[in-house]
Symmetry: C2
Subunit: 157 residues, 2 copies
Amino acid sequence: MVDLDRDDMAILHVLQDDARNATTEAIGADVGLAASTVASRINDLEDRGVITGYTPEIDYEKAGFEQRTLLVGTVTDEADEAVVARVSEVENVISVRRLLSDEADLHIELVTDTQKRVEAVTDELHELGIEITRTSVIVEERTRPFDHFGEKYTTDG
Amino acid sequence: MVDLDRDDMAILHVLQDDARNATTEAIGADVGLAASTVASRINDLEDRGVITGYTPEIDYEKAGFEQRTLLVGTVTDEADEAVVARVSEVENVISVRRLLSDEADLHIELVTDTQKRVEAVTDELHELGIEITRTSVIVEERTRPFDHFGEKYTTDG
DNA sequence: GTTGAAAAGAGCATACA
DNA sequence: TGTATGCTCTTTTCAAC
């Protein structure tokens, strides 16, 4: 684990608002540090592995991938440590979670353009040793990158 | 829906690799466009709502929030359209999905520092009209921002 | 660890093909 | 729509605190 002081948390908070366009100077104004200090702290956070990358948030529906599906299943070979990694490489898979439970321990989320593609992915997963026990349509989804983080240490409220 | 040509998809693909530090020039080199063209296309994608924001990927464990939990439950008032939005405002909640199914139609993911906090969130959700039917520990998780997107239209492979 | 200033680099707007 | 140039802003670097 890594020690994060209030400045680090405040920086993370501001980055979550707009990780691409937030300048080090603007961040500095919010958290009360010089631009160069912010830059060096961001580098540290990256080096220490707290920040592992930066991604755009994409509206997949607008991008033409209108279907979201949750597949729930089990791993045939329970000793298989690398399933999650392998599954996440499958096309159209955007997230994989493994749960600590006897059954239905694998949750796989898909983004696809057609229903047919969902079936193809299900087949592919079967070949990877995964039994899909339920397929559900996701009608609404909301993700928040832990925005609660260090909010109180910034000046923007 | 929005029409995305191969250049748009290629740009999205490169952005997913490092949305903060990828310069328009570097992206242009990958996709075969001038830097200013890339910039204007990115602006268009933002204006059209395909790109809705940019977020840092954070290793929550390293940040001291070591527990990930999946809560599965149901909404008491089925007519409540705004549940997902309200739940996503609850502290420690990082994602909410509503499924098209009779039961267990709400999946809520938490990031917390203690188990006690999980229970507090469960109570809070109960007050919002949500009945939690199962609480599972997430032992492994992997998220991929649809990296499969337009990969073939870039030169980096 | 933090700062401020200078140098290097990137983005934006204009003009043009 | 895509490109090239000039202007402005940002990041990086580093000596000093």
